[in-house]
């Protein structure tokens, strides 16, 4: 991406990225692959909307449609939104706390490659006999009955990428706990760092149940276990519980970092300190906490009994309170500020009504008896696209514009940015607003077709037109990215002019060691404080200039992940019973993984030092991307 990298030649750049342990480059890897999966998931969404454009359409067949919605949901949640948010976390969070890197650079890279190979594995199902088709929730009875290997691609692929995500979560937590610069107390951390922290904690505690659920499914389908086999005493509700114990925190894993990005944007483009910073922090923690106690609101119609339904209904409604606290604090942040309508700010402004609309329908669904009507209807589809697209995707688009300069050193074109914004926003409301009414008019979700006699034709057509608008918006964004990269106009430390936190105090993109000298933090919004006090350098330092210790790059993460990828194929085809090569493949894959892990643990990796002289040379403008 950077000009220096281009000079190095393509092969060298690829190798550089495959061995990098630098959090900023890993961020770019997450960003590119997340973006790619977003386009894939978006194309799948377009196919859904084309199929539902009119009654009785035969653009997609019944079985294919189910594969497409399953892959759309799975791709968008696990392979697009999460990685894109992890990209911003990687790119920005260590800078915000004044760290030179994350706590475990090697694991950071391993986390990415596990996610990447897991995602590729999942998507290869399209070419190897069919994708999973039991919905992204993969409910056990249907999943067990599903023929072919689709479900196995789902379970194994998500297991691998889930490990990656868990590793990333632990890594961020340790980074924030241990690596904050002097003076960066918890209550001075920027809100994006805080939301990263809480979201990572949710990852830590929510992914294990999913992993166990996936294991059960693998054991059932591959080794004849009976967890979900009713005839053998199994119980499919176990899957539903395990999935949602994970699944509900998962939606907060998505929305909290989005809240973080918007918090930064509101403060920056209102030129104002976040109103009620403390309240925002505690609301974040509370949302994370409650997030673990409400999962059964996805299961109101399962028949858990009135007591369980009532308890979970009440617990769910409570979440509206801390979320409302956030909304009102943001409103009061822009109140009395000096609002400049840049592209990121437009997204932030649009986010508030969109997300509130999605949030309040969530509270309506929390009323268990009402949810008996709403559950599994298009009302639900409308709800979660309002919170996800109106919250998470808008945040990702906003973050893309906001942090583009920090990640790539150039500015996305503002005009095109606004074109994307308007197309996307209008398309979004056009698509999903009307779906509330479709649901109320009795349209179930996950239907590949509907009859003309149901009275849903016009609304569905409008919804499909909206999706087209969103697609145009995304295409304009892609054009914007290409044009910006070709033009390659470099920008300085603080291109938006009103940066408040530490990441804006250093060059865009930052040198590979981030801070030549560790900064000393003197309050919330530390860069803003220095700016207001007229500090030209933008930072006060906590240490004299000295040697910096850096980790070595490594190719081993790719090898470990690749081994898991290979082993998964072995496990998957071993199930067929007639493929003699499957077992060796499984063993070879595991051997690659464990072998490379062994190499890693036996070979000491002590990193290297950048000397003071090199740093001084750098400061005058030299090597910036860390190639040695």
């Amino acid at each position: 991406m950077s000009s220096i990298a281009q000079k190095k030649g393509f092969g060298a750049t690829v190798w550089d990225y495959m061995t990098t342990v630098d959090h900023k480059k890993i961020a770019i890897l997450y960003f590119i692959s997340g973006g790619l999966f977003f386009v894939i998931g978006g194309i799948e969404a377009m196919m859904i909307r084309i199929q539902l454009m009119k009654a009785g359409n035969d653009f997609l067949s019944a079985g294919l449609y189910n594969e497409i919605i399953t892959m759309h949901g799975t791709t968008m949640i696990f392979l697009a939104s999460m990685p894109l948010l992890l990209a911003f976390m990687n790119a920005v969070m260590p800078l915000q706390i004044g760290a030179r890197d994350v706590a475990f650079p090697f694991l950071n890279s391993l986390g990415f490659w596990l996610f990447f190979f897991g995602g590729i594995f999942l998507n290869l199902s399209w070419f190897l006999g069919g994708a999973p088709d039991a919905g992204w929730t993969n409910y056990a009875s249907l999943a067990m009955a599903s023929e072919g290997h689709g479900i196995d691609f789902y379970t194994l692929g998500l297991t691998i990428s889930g490990f990656g995500t868990l590793i990333a979560g632990i890594n961020f937590l340790v980074t924030i706990i241990n690596m904050r610069a002097p003076g960066m107390t918890y209550m001075r951390m920027p809100l994006f760092t805080w939301t990263t922290f809480v979201a990572s904690a949710l990852i830590l505690l929510a992914f294990p149940p999913l992993t166990i659920g996936l294991f059960f499914m693998v054991f059932d389908r591959l080794f004849g276990a009976n967890f979900f086999d009713v005839a053998m005493g199994g119980n499919t509700i176990i899957w539903e519980h395990l999935f949602w114990i994970f699944g509900h925190p998962e939606v907060y894993i998505l929305i909290l970092p989005a809240f973080g990005i918007f918090s930064e944007i509101f403060a920056i483009f209102s030129r104002k300190r976040l109103f009620g910073y403390t309240a925002l922090v505690f609301a974040t923690i509370l949302i994370g906490f409650y997030g673990f106690m409400v999962w059964a609101h996805h299961m109101f119609t399962v028949g858990l009994g009135p007591t369980a339904n009532a308890v979970f209904a009440l617990a769910t409604m409570i979440i509206a309170v801390p979320t409302g606290v956030k909304i009102f604090n943001w409103l009061l942040t822009i109140w009395g500020g000096s609002i400049s309508f840049t592209t990121p700010m437009l997204y932030a402004i649009a986010f508030i009504p969109s997300f509130v609309a999605g949030g309040v329908t969530g509270v309506m669904q929390a009323m268990a008896p009402l949810d008996y009507q709403l559950h599994d209807s298009y009302f639900i589809v409308a709800h979660f696209h309002y919170v996800i697209v109106g919250g998470v995707v808008l945040a990702i688009l906003a973050g893309t514009h906001l942090y583009w300069p920090k990640m790539f050193g150039t500015m996305l074109n503002e005009k095109l940015g606004k074109v994307t914004f308007w197309f996307f926003l209008i398309g979004f409301h056009l698509t999903f607003f009307i779906q509330h009414f479709l649901g109320l008019m009795g349209m179930p979700r996950r239907v590949y077709t509907f009859g003309t006699d149901q009275g849903w034709d016009a609304y569905n057509l409008i919804s499909s037109v909206g999706a087209l608008f969103m697609a145009i918006g995304v295409i304009v964004l892609v054009i914007n990215v290409i044009l910006t990269t070709i033009k390659n106009e470099r920008v300085g430390n603080d291109p938006w002019g009103d940066g408040r936190t530490l990441e804006w105090a250093i060059p865009s993109p930052p040198p590979f060691y981030n801070f030549a000298q560790t900064p000393l933090v003197r309050g919330l919004d530390s860069y803003w404080i220095e700016k207001m006090e007229g500090n030209k350098e933008g930072m006060v330092y906590a240490e004299p200039l000295g040697d910096i210790h850096m980790p070595n790059g490594s190719f081993i993460p790719v090898v470990i992940s690749f081994g898991m990828f290979v082993a998964s194929f072995g496990a998957l085809y071993h199930m067929d019973g007639d493929k003699a090569w499957a077992l060796p493949v499984l063993i070879i894959g595991l051997a690659i993984t464990f072998g490379s892990m062994l190499v890693r643990s036996l070979k000491d990796d002590l990193g290297f030092h950048i000397t003071k002289e090199e740093l001084l040379r750098d400061a005058k403008g030299g090597n910036k991307d860390g190639s040695k």
Partner: protein, 208 residues
């Protein structure tokens, strides 16, 4: 960090496992992993409890008919003792007494191996009785829960052995001290899980 830097008991830091930033990171990260493991095992226990004694109609084996306590008692004692021996190893690690640490770790590993052997014997015994993995939902849940614990024991043993062999020549330093410490933590955690296994699976199983 200098690998070749030699320490004496006098200069060895009070908390070698957290004396470096790397050590501190590993330490915090590992505890977080244990928190995640807690939830992992909770999911397994919960499923086991939900599926306990559930199977096809006319199922032959239930918990109360199957489990025998003497073997489990022996296994429990062995694992508990190995927890203590690893505490001894860490005591000597803190005193920078490498030889004694290796010796105690060696004993821990031996005890762990015996435990594992007994577990394999037990499983083998059940399978011979006709209580196989695919028999019923109960059997799947039982083997998966106890087997996952067994896999953790195996991993813990491999970890100890790898550390002992790798560092046999170079002795204790700031680079490997945190690793020894974490392996010992892991071993305690395995013991904690076992406490619940013998209580919830075996003891509560026997009383039906």
């Amino acid at each position: 960090m200098d690998l070749n830097k030699k320490y004496t008991p006098q200069t060895w830091p009070d908390h070698p496992e957290t004396a470096t930033l790397e050590g501190k990171n590993k330490f915090v990260g590992f505890w977080l992993l244990l928190a995640a493991e807690t939830v992992t095992f909770a999911s397994l226990f919960a499923t086991y409890l939900a599926l306990k004694d559930k199977g096809p109609s006319g199922m032959e084996f239930t918990a109360s008919g199957l489990f025998e306590l003497p073997l489990v008692f022996a296994m429990t004692m062995i694992l508990l003792t190995s927890s203590l021996t690893s505490v001894y190893a860490m005591y000597h690690m803190k005193n920078h007494n490498f030889k004694a640490m290796q010796a105690w770790l060696g004993i821990t590993v031996l005890l762990g191996l015996v435990f594992l052997g007994l577990e394999i014997y037990e499983f083998n015994h059940y399978v011979h009785l006709g209580f196989g993995y695919t028999n019923s939902a109960f059997s799947s849940a039982f083997y998966t829960l106890v087997g996952t614990h067994g896999a953790h024991v195996l991993f813990g043993l491999s970890w100890f052995i790898a550390l002992m062999l790798r560092n046999a020549k170079r002795g204790l330093n700031m680079y490997n001290a945190p690793k020894f410490y974490l392996a010992a933590l892991y071993w305690h955690f395995i013991d904690v899980v076992w406490v619940f296994i013998f209580t919830v699976v075996y003891l509560m199983g026997v009383i039906g």
